[in-house]
Symmetry: C2
Subunit: 432 residues, 2 copies
């Protein structure tokens, strides 16, 4: 981790730069995969699986015996964990369900805003080194709370076993996912965006993935299908002062660093001694990590920034908002005073007893969050992500009369005569 | 308008097809414009204005004398209209402001979801044949209600006068827009996405535009900047039965048709006699419209669909949901019964006294709405469009202890040892 002491204002935005992930070769490959799936449907999914993974599953959809196998394979401790995590995630997302808004803006003019669930949502769960079944909970639970009509899930099979990870299948069934398909990579995203013989087209796609998956989401998103969030590598910022425990801070930074070599972790603190204490703890803990090589590479993208002196709290806060971290841990004295001034972050963790991993799994907040500074414009996944808000208006005859001069004056000034006429004709005088 | 009587189920999705707008030539030109603005900043904006519009404004930003000129140029009736419309729009959007959500998901585990305004938003207002100052109200008012810190606006000058339309400038000042820039087209979108010497980069871009503008939003959106909605030509569907007034229905269809030659209007009704009555009224009213040529061309993309027989109300409703119209007018007996079953639409107009133009200007609902079937996944612009929701969590030591087994079990099963350790180390036992 590179260390910066009281960096000049002019370089602060450089310190917000994330590791680059743009890769034209990936883009070109994904483009071809998309075209094949769009044109070839199921057959293209099969031939792509054979080319990329070496073999294609005999049936794309997971059947009941596979769910039964998975249920038996999952340990009691994981089942209990899923149950507790699910309860908290459900409670917090249920509390977010919006009320219908209804007001009379003028006499006889009723305006209503009503939430309606998105009908068909598609979840993508990566395979890879570890089966991320926690993401199944984070996406399927709010989808069900929002009452989406159909929730499907695509995930690759393991190259070793030829099966979907048992935890993923178990979590999918536990959360009420309607169908699980054994399709991974960019081809899964394309299949959900366009539909195939087996996989019905969805209205919105959610979920993380490797470069191929995120490139497919980027290429297809808002052209053929809606997507949850623009994607990027995961990141955490920890703000620390003398009230922080260096061993805890180091553990939090490492828990983010182990996600991937392109992760970024940032420590912002108010003294060099804390920086040194945390660095020493990182060195000690890192050696013992199973994924130490991945974490080490992530630490190369990472930074320690010390703002010491009188206005250090303000400068730390301003930098946090400039960076807009996906995860922000506030290990400071009086953390809520700082938290109240945070205007750009995905999810915020307050004090010494709120590690990022609590939010990653079980506190109830969502772990699908804006990375790469997208927190400046995007929320993390929340109940809103699974609904649309439709507006309704009903004017009485008097209500329309009360607005008629306003509407016709504006329509005339915009040169839209037919707009004016739709009112005039109702007032008994065509303006044509 | 082509007429379909009880179309087969199998062709219904064909009847939802919108006029195509994909144009590779436009895309290529926009790509070049984007690169020039990204690299050249203000100088590129000037040279593009000279090339495309024949001349560049001496100063990109509108100054106080221009606002004063505009204020004097706007008629009293338009000022009054803006004041009444603004009041309704503000009231309805203010009613949508979300409350902070706070719950204790487990003992000692507090989860909070708080709305924070997007800091810098950029609005685009097209020039063209008519100055769409109503869109200034629809975008700037919710931005101010949400308390966005800076609201800027780009709009082209008129080729005739070399000035920004007075109504646009007046409305911008009335709504509290911070800065107005005389830049139009794809170059305005690029300028707001990347920033130039004069125009500060924004976090999110809102607003309609021609093919160049919408292509620029599509190319830059969710790569360099957030955007409001995927764009497409405007559309209306009217559902009508014997309770509808054919002259009103025709006026509503024409008010949409006059927007542009690529607009689409759809009449869905339960008898051929209504279809004929509306068609006759369209013919009569069309002849008298100033923009009759545009409207006529839009009518060529348009359809009348008759579902008669016993289950006509259900079939009309199903088709409305399949089409997912931007604007939906329900001119039916007992309209709320149908409205309660609408799950895909941007904004819905109930009964005979609620023309689309009421919502376009003054009822209080927003007129920036999802087109092209995007209502299946997107809301129209509303207060949520100008905020982000940040989550916060605070666990007490006991709160973390209560979740510790859950978190470590899940982290272990996902192979993420450092995630588990961030909890174990706080529980006094490192898991490394």
């Amino acid at each position: 981790m590179e260390k910066y002491i009281n960096p000049e204002y002019s370089i602060l935005s450089d310190l917000c730069i994330r590791p680059s992930t743009d890769n034209p070769v990936v883009r070109e490959r994904v483009d071809k995969i998309i075209t094949r799936v769009k044109e070839g449907g199921d057959a293209a999914l099969r031939s792509l699986a054979e080319e990329i993974d070496g073999s294609a599953p005999s049936c794309l959809e997971c059947k009941s015996d596979e769910f039964t196998f998975a249920e038996n394979a999952v340990s009691d401790s994981v089942r209990k964990a899923i149950a507790q995590a699910a309860q908290n995630i459900e409670a917090f997302h249920r509390a977010q369900l919006p009320e219908t808004v209804e007001i009379e803006t003028s006499l006889g003019v009723r305006c209503i805003q009503k939430a309606v669930p998105i009908q068909r949502v598609g979840l993508y769960i990566p395979g890879g080194t570890a089966p991320l079944f926690s993401t199944v909970l984070m996406l399927a639970i709010p989808a069900k709370v929002a009452q989406c009509k159909e929730v499907i899930l695509c995930t690759p099979v393991s190259r070793q076993t030829g099966k979907v990870a048992s935890e993923v299948l178990y979590a999918a069934k536990y959360c009420g996912v309607d169908k699980v398909y054994k399709v991974g990579g960019a081809q899964a995203i394309a299949a959900m965006a366009f539909g195939t013989e087996t996989i019905a087209k969805v209205d919105k796609i959610f979920g993380p993935g490797n470069q191929y998956v995120t490139t497919a989401k980027q290429l297809l998103g808002n052209k053929y299908v809606a997507i949850d969030l623009p994607a990027g590598p995961s990141e955490v910022m920890v703000m620390a002062d003398a009230s922080a425990v260096p061993a805890f801070v180091a553990a939090d930074l490492l828990s983010q660093a182990e996600h991937g070599a392109d992760s970024q972790v940032i420590l912002v603190c108010d003294s060099e001694s804390i920086a040194e204490g945390v660095q020493a703890e990182i060195d000690a803990q890192l050696r013992q990590l199973g994924r130490s090589e991945i974490a080490s590479r992530a630490l190369e993208n990472s930074r320690i920034i010390v703002f010491n002196g009188e206005d250090s709290r303000s400068r730390m806060t301003d930098f946090a908002n400039l960076y807009g971290p996906e995860h922000l841990i506030i290990s400071l004295e009086n953390p809520w005073e700082i938290a109240s001034r945070i205007i750009s972050a995905g999810s915020v963790f307050i004090g010494n007893w709120s590690p990022e991993s609590a939010g990653d799994y079980a506190s109830g907040t969502n772990h699908t969050l804006p990375t790469c500074g997208w927190s400046r414009a995007h929320s993390g996944v929340n109940i809103d992500s699974f609904i649309r808000k439709i507006t309704f208006q009903e004017l009485s005859q008097d209500g329309l009369r009360g607005l008629s001069q306003t509407i016709t004056a504006m329509a005339d000034a915009e040169g839209l005569q037919a707009h004016a006429n739709a009112v005039s004709i109702r007032m008994g005088k065509s303006s044509l």
